[in-house]
Amino acid sequence: MELRVTDLACARGGLPVLEGVSFALTGGRALVLRGPNGIGKTTLLRTLAGLQPAAAGSVSVPAEAMAYAAHADGLKATLSVTENLAFWARVFGTGGIAAALARMNLAHLADRPAQNLSAGQKRRLGLARLLVTGRPIWVLDEPTVSLDTASVALFADVVRDHLAGGGMALIATHIDLGLDEAEVLDLGPFRADPARAADAFDRDFESAGDDDAEAFL
């Protein structure tokens, strides 16, 4: 299995942020996305996960192969740790809840309501969801936020296992996970050109006046 992204362009709030993004990823490899705040890492990941349409370009793998994890963990405060995870396992038609909890070091908290978890524990539970999706490509947006050093190492191990099993991972992160399998992709060069930033209709709108732009402003 190979993930090939070709000339992908994506927009946020109607404004293009990235264009010409191309990379390829094979099973067992990870790609770490780098770039300053606002460059469009989240937008790119949401586009790949199928939450928003790409403005241009193609992705060789359907969004159904991706397991997306965002800043928010999608946890329900009044449900227990097990219930939270069991819900997602059911939605994705998989099992292995106990194994996933053990793997993320949450087994001893299994019956605790999610509202009584610390921020780091919530994050670990959010990431445990990835294990029960059964999907080959993990699309992770800042997965290590609020994790301590030990948990980051634990998470890196989990990602490593996933890759060893032939999976892939796309990770937007600023910290070094210590993954030997990971390549780094700097999104800086793909920033949408301001001169060409406006897409076709906005260019149409810009030239749509009865007088020229400067006079109008």
Partner: protein, 218 residues
């Protein structure tokens, strides 16, 4: 999809107010109306079908913004949209959960409220039947309104403004079915029309709601 339904019901029960809030609101309206218009039995009996239907409609409206707002805030909606189940199905389950926590309890408790409103004896069955047939439409239409306003910070008032005009046909036929029943007239036509609106809404609106969610998430 059943998983989603069970989760939503569980959340409604644990959060408290899921079942109770709509019923309490219904009760308050039914207490306030006689206090406002006076205790005359004939007057109350005459306006009971309409008041009961309007109260049910407002009680439904009260909990609409919770259908998607919490899932939107905690990120569940993003994850549901990327999950293998069709979003249309998820939306339909959300409507069903809303109906089970508001419409169904209102329907079951409605004879009690009818009693307070001096509803004529002949109308109790018709009241329950019309609410049973009509409240699913209220939930499904309300889900559509909630889907349109899910991304908005203060969508509550706008949600009411969008949904209430859409409730007009259901309200008219539902209340008319009870009124005709109360007066011993033939009410088959409005009753069938209520059922038709519910069936049509249930069949078609989840597609519009899912489309609105997708637009709001991108």
């Amino acid at each position: 999809m059943i998983g989603l339904l069970l989760r939503d019901l569980k959340l409604a029960i644990r959060a408290g107010g899921g079942f109770g809030l709509g019923l309490a609101f219904f009760l308050i309206v039914v207490v306030l109306v006689p206090l406002g218009v006076g205790p005359k039995t004939e007057l109350l009996a005459a306006i009971a079908p309409g008041i009961l239907w309007v109260a049910a409609l407002l009680a439904c409206l009260l909990s609409l913004d919770r259908i998607f707002a919490l899932d939107y805030e905690d990120g569940s909606l993003d994850l549901l949209a990327t999950a293998p189940m069709p979003l249309e199905g998820a939306v339909a389950m959300k409507s069903l959960a809303h109906w089970l926590t508001t419409g169904l309890p209102l329907t079951l408790a409605s004879p009690l409220f009818g009693l307070l409103m001096q509803l004529p004896d002949a109308a109790y069955g018709w009241l329950m039947l019309s609410l049973a047939l009509g409240t699913p439409a209220l939930s499904v239409i309300g889900t559509f309104g909630a889907a349109l306003t899910v991304g908005l910070k203060r969508g509550g008032l706008l949600l009411s403004l969008l949904v209430l005009p859409l409730y007009v046909p259901t309200l008219i036929f539902g209340a008319e079915a009870v009124r005709r029943g109360a007066e011993g007239m033939d009410n088959a036509t409005p009753m069938i029309l209520v059922a038709a609106i519910t069936l049509g809404s249930v069949a078609l609106l989840p597609f519009a709601s899912a489309a609105a969610i997708r637009i709001n998430l991108r």
